[in-house]
């Protein structure tokens, strides 16, 4: 399902709920669809204490419900783990194997953030849950940048930013190499932009 389709369903569901409550059919939250061209998860893992290995997930979809006035929001993003890209084909293949993501069994990872922390009208943190390999654990994303702007091509408001967090991969059962020094800590760098629907 494409991101706009998901967004439309969400809007439809919201309108239906309101209708049921006898309120005017008006969407209370600003609804945004994730712009997949400006939404990526990059990760960083230290390599033998020497340099940093990086990778990225290329296929994703999701939606954001965001209300600056009410200071609330909800984000749902799903990533295809088979789209991992490191620049080294053998590494991508190993990451997809049961040693790491086991994409045959667990093709996607999902982040659902339902608590948005604000400073003024800027989002500073998103608190939620990350599901990977069928395990769901809490994660807090910290905003490094957050902004909304009028995009001249879409002629719509776009909100987004850069978020980061460091997770321990063993919490999701990704334990390969821990005993021979591949670190448990994985830093996630998340770029996200979402277009007002």
């Amino acid at each position: 399902m494409s991101a706009p389709t998901l967004a439309r369903r969400f809007v439809a569901a919201a309108v239906l709920c309101l209708g049921g409550a006898g309120v005017q059919a008006q969407v209370p939250n600003a609804n945004y669809a994730i712009d997949p061209t400006h939404t990526f998860v990059n990760y960083e893992v230290a390599h033998f204490g020497t340099s940093t290995n990086r990778g990225r997930f290329d296929k994703k979809e999701g939606t954001v419900v965001f209300d600056r006035a009410a200071k609330t929001g909800k984000v749902e993003v799903m990533f295809e783990l088979g789209s991992v890209s490191t620049g080294v084909a053998a590494m991508d293949k190993h990451l997809q194997s049961p040693d790491f993501f086991d994409t045959a069994k667990f093709p996607t990872a999902k982040f659902v953030g339902d608590k948005f922390v604000f400073a003024g009208d800027k989002v500073t943190e998103v608190v939620g849950n990350l599901t990977l390999r069928d395990k769901t654990m809490p994660v807090t994303l910290k905003a490094l940048n957050f902004n909304c702007y009028m995009n001249p091509m879409f002629k719509r408001e776009v909100c987004g930013g850069d978020f980061e967090t460091t997770i321990k991969r063993s919490q999701w059962g990704v334990n390969y190499g821990l005993q021979f020094g591949i670190p448990d800590d994985v830093r996630l760098e998340i770029q996200i932009e979402a277009i007002k629907q």
């Binding site: 061209t37 204490g49 020497t50 940093t52 990225r56 620049g87 770029q191």
Partner: protein, 188 residues
């Protein structure tokens, strides 16, 4: 007297050995340049070039080093093939006319035994400018399979892409580009 002589000979031999610069060839699995550019003042666009080709020499006793590396500009990878194709066009990387970018340096700054910064010249689209790459971390380890010394680290630097003529989309897509370089070299 004899022991002093032996000591002097041993010291001279040690010096001679230390004065040999060690040569490292870049490991294609762990040598990439990532770039970061701010998009509409909102979020950070990222992409990757690599693997990098090249060699590094380090003389830890003399605190000197050299690096010479090539970057295939068409290897740019953002995760979006349409984006990559746009980046290769003439108002950005101009990959057809300028298939390679280069970084060369003969000025290494050390902090103790570790490389702290590398000052050199970066060439993109045939324009050369000074570039300092600062080490965020630097270290050496013995590779368990290769049983050879591997030295490397993470370096960061900054360019203004407009200075190189890669100016499409400014100022909505920033002029300032942060470069994050992962590099590991295998001792020869």
């Amino acid at each position: 007297m004899k022991s002093v002589l032996v000591g002097a000979v041993a010291a001279a031999a040690a010096l001679a050995a230390a004065a040999q610069p060690a040569v490292y060839v870049l490991d294609p699995q762990h040598s990439f340049v990532s770039f970061e550019v701010l998009h509409f003042g909102t979020s950070t666009l990222r992409g990757r070039f690599g693997p990098l080709n090249g060699a590094v020499t380090i003389d830890r006793a003399a605190r000197t080093g050299t690096v010479s590396l090539r970057i295939d500009t068409s290897s740019v990878s953002t995760g979006l093939p349409a984006f990559d194709a746009r980046l290769r066009q003439s108002d950005l990387l101009a990959s057809e006319a300028h298939p390679q970018a280069y970084f060369v340096s003969t000025r290494f700054r050390f902090d103790g035994d570790a490389v702290a910064a590398v000052n050199g010249e970066f060439t993109l689209r045939d324009v050369s400018q000074g570039l300092e790459l600062r080490a965020l971390r630097f270290g050496c380890h013995t590779h368990p399979q290769l049983r050879r010394e591997v030295c490397g680290g993470d370096f960061e630097g900054e360019i203004k892409r407009g200075d190189f003529g890669a100016s499409f989309g400014m100022p909505f897509i920033a002029n300032r580009v942060r470069l994050v370089v992962q590099v590991e070299g295998i001792r020869q």
